[in-house]
């Protein structure tokens, strides 16, 4: 028998194997074409902008573009002693170009951040340079102010040469480049960001713990009760889930205010005196209470969907084999719920770590989190590159959490409702 007759042919005379492969490829392309519109949309409107956040956060081309000749001349300067004549000449010519475009003020402000006192001497240079004679730029500039004779100011200019900088990220961790270009911490009383990072982690962690402690029992109850009762109770979980976040925050603001119902209740049972009602809002207590209630459904729903699949006969088997109900629960039931616990905790933690609205409304000064700081820089100070840097630091943290979760539980085990 020849090999030709062995091959099965389709009616067109093409070998079946080839024909099948072709059909397979066609199906692949078809499936991909269906996904393509959304994929392109998300990549263009969402993934690229996140990449843009990165370039924006490290972008420091302003000075690089303002002083092109200076940095070219500085390439050969070792930075230890005062730069040679060419650097001064190049700087003067760059500065003249900037002065013509009226951008010398911007340069002064930017360099002032690098080394205090730059703005003043550049203004002085701007006033005096009109009377400069041709050539000998070094002596003429140095004669204007003694700071131009200080090598530290020239080192500061050199430090701004690279088009990219990590300074925004350092600022997010309360650090900065000092005059020698080394990374140092800001003084103790100005370390605000570190406090915010730690507080965000702390709040996210404890909210997750509270949600777990409260969510586990009720998810268990919902999963074990007969349908007609559990459906009714499920409303208690689903109604808050579907209700506007702002509505729920508003109700907590009413409950927790000093003349509010919670305080009324405390006074009524005699826990606190009427004239010393505790402040429960505009601090961390308010943030904890409101966030726990708001995020609790996100813990209960994944737990419930996992618990629903666990057969009650497993617990009975455990008990019949001599385990007490507690041991049966701990050795049989609890391990089976771990995917649900993982999904719920991950969901709540990630949502809590990026929380913005509730802390901003009920948190007050001591309840604000890192997201509030990002929003503040986006809207108030307009320091978008700093906001981007902090956003990406937060995103990195979130990705690390996902990675750990994937190692521990497996990302495919996530179930949503």
């Amino acid at each position: 028998m020849s090999s030709e007759t062995q091959k099965i042919l389709t009616t067109d005379g093409i070998p079946l194997e080839v024909s099948l492969k072709k059909a397979e490829k066609k199906n692949k392309i078809k499936a991909f074409l269906l996904v393509a519109p959304l994929l392109l949309f998300i990549i263009i409107t969402y993934i690229f902008p996140i990449g843009e956040m990165f370039t924006r956060s490290i972008d420091d081309r302003m000075v690089t573009n303002m002083l092109p000749k200076t940095f070219k001349a500085m390439e050969t300067w070792d930075g230890k002693e005062l730069p040679p004549e060419e650097v001064f000449a190049a700087f003067l010519s760059d500065f003249r170009v900037l002065a013509e475009k009226k951008e010398h003020g911007k340069l002064g402000q930017r360099l002032n951040k690098e080394k205090n006192g730059f703005n003043t001497i550049l203004k002085k240079l701007w006033r005096k340079m009109k009377k400069f004679e041709e050539g000998n730029a070094k002596e003429q500039i140095m004669a204007i102010h003694k700071r131009f004779r200080d090598v530290k100011y020239w080192q500061a200019i050199k430090r701004t040469a690279p088009p990219y900088t990590m300074s925004k990220y350092l600022k997010g961790m309360d650090m900065y480049y000092n005059e020698d270009g080394k990374i140092v911490q800001v003084s103790e009383d100005r370390r605000i960001h570190r406090i915010l990072w730690l507080r965000t982690l702390e709040v996210a962690f404890f909210v997750t713990v509270f949600c777990f402690l409260m969510g586990y029992p009720i998810a268990h109850l919902l999963a074990t009760l007969p349908m007609k009762y559990s459906n009714l109770l499920m409303i208690c979980v689903l109604l808050p889930f579907w209700t506007s976040l702002l509505v729920r925050t508003a109700s907590w603001m009413i409950l927790l205010q000093q003349q509010g119902i919670v305080n009324d209740f405390f006074v009524w049972i005699g826990l606190v005196a009427d004239d010393s009602r505790p402040e429960m809002m505009y601090n961390k207590t308010g943030t904890y209470v409101a966030m726990t209630q708001i995020l609790l459904p996100f813990m209960v729903l994944p737990l419930y969907s996992v618990m629903k699949t666990i057969s009650p006969s497993l617990m009975r088997a455990g008990k019949s084999l001599g385990g007490t109900p507690f041991i049966a629960f701990w050795k049989v039931y609890f391990p089976l719920t771990i995917p649900g616990i993982g999904a719920g905790c991950l969901l709540v933690f990630i949502l809590a770590i990026g929380y913005y609205i509730t802390p901003a409304l009920v948190g007050g000064a001591s309840g604000t989190l890192i997201s509030n700081q990002i929003a503040y820089h986006m809207k108030a100070t307009l320091d978008w590159s700093f906001a981007s840097a902090m956003g990406l630091m937060l995103l990195t943290g979130v990705l690390v959490v996902y990675w750990i979760y994937n190692k521990l539980v497996g990302i495919d085990n996530i179930k949503l409702g």
Binding site: K28, K30, F32, V35, L38, P217, V247, R248, W252
Partner: protein, 284 residues
């Protein structure tokens, strides 16, 4: 959950403690929502229960704040409600179309790089909202759509599609593909097959995805705060401003309306979920 007669006393105690704990948690979850109802009918301007309300005196209740919400002078709620509905409806339509089509591709077993693409598509849902807000703002500002309805609609489509993709893929996981093959073998073209066979079967999933997308858009405030101008104010923005500046009972009237709306959505979503489960059950 009646306990068997032979239960030992300490388990009995534990069981009732457990039920009590659960009771407290359910109360904690649902009670805050019910505080808003009575207070929104308060005749006075304060956000506490007046003595008259505690005595259930009819004079202590009024529809004053609802009247203020609708007819109040210089009131922002009319415009905000209109904007919110327009934005949410268009964002939902966009999300549903893009999301459903993508879900059809994703649930095909021929789909290459399924995991990676799925992760990309649902990334707006798993990245903290504030980061998405910053990224989307940069895009919308770059294409010059800041402070326009279209810009906000695009932003909400980005945030809404992951929900549609997830719910529709879930519905399609129980979908019997032989019915579409049967349709094709009977001479139906793919579009016709989708409209007449596939869509009716996955409709519950599509609609519950649409509900998610609608609620996401209707309730979204972080991204809108970055994007909206004075003409694009939405209900969440007005609530946010109101809650920040001064908590007035009018906000509670609005909040009550929103709770009623979310109850309606909840009921619809639940009915759909049960229907979808029933259909999938038959297929198995």
């Amino acid at each position: 959950m009646a306990l068997p007669k032979y239960t030992e006393p300490h388990y009995r105690i534990w069981h009732y403690t457990y039920l009590t704990i659960c009771g407290f948690v359910f109360f904690f979850l649902i009670a805050p929502l019910f505080v808003i109802f009575p207070l929104s009918f308060n005749a006075e301007e304060f956000l506490v229960f007046s003595d008259g309300m505690k005595r259930l005196d009819p004079d202590a209740f009024s529809l004053r704040w609802y009247h203020d919400m609708v007819y109040g002078t210089k009131n922002p709620w009319g415009l905000a409600a209109k904007n919110s509905f327009i934005i949410a409806v268009f964002a939902t339509i966009g999300s549903v179309i893009l999301g459903t089509v993508a879900a059809l591709g994703l649930s095909s077993r021929h789909m290459p790089f399924k995991g990676l693409i799925m992760a990309t598509l649902i990334s707006p849902m798993i990245v903290p909202l504030i980061i998405s807000g910053v990224a989307i703002f940069f895009f919308i500002a770059k294409v010059g759509l800041a402070a326009t309805h279209l810009g906000i609609i695009i932003a909400h489509i980005i945030l809404g599609t992951p929900f549609v993709v997830i719910t529709v893929t879930a519905t399609l996981s129980g979908f019997d593909h032989s019915v579409t093959r049967a349709a094709a073998s009977l001479g139906s073209n793919p579009v016709n097959t989708f409209m007449k066979i596939t869509l009716p079967l996955i409709l519950p999933g599509v609609i519950s995805g649409a509900l998610f997308a609608f609620v996401t858009s209707f309730d979204e405030v972080v991204v809108v705060l970055f994007l909206a101008g004075l003409d694009n104010t939405t209900i969440p923005i007005q609530m946010w401003t109101g809650l920040r500046e001064q908590l007035s009972p009018t906000i509670l009237a609005v909040a009550t309306c929103l709770i009623v709306l979310s109850t309606l959505i909840l009921v619809t979503a639940e009915l759909l979920r049960r229907r979808s489960e029933r259909i999938r059950g038959i297929n198995r």
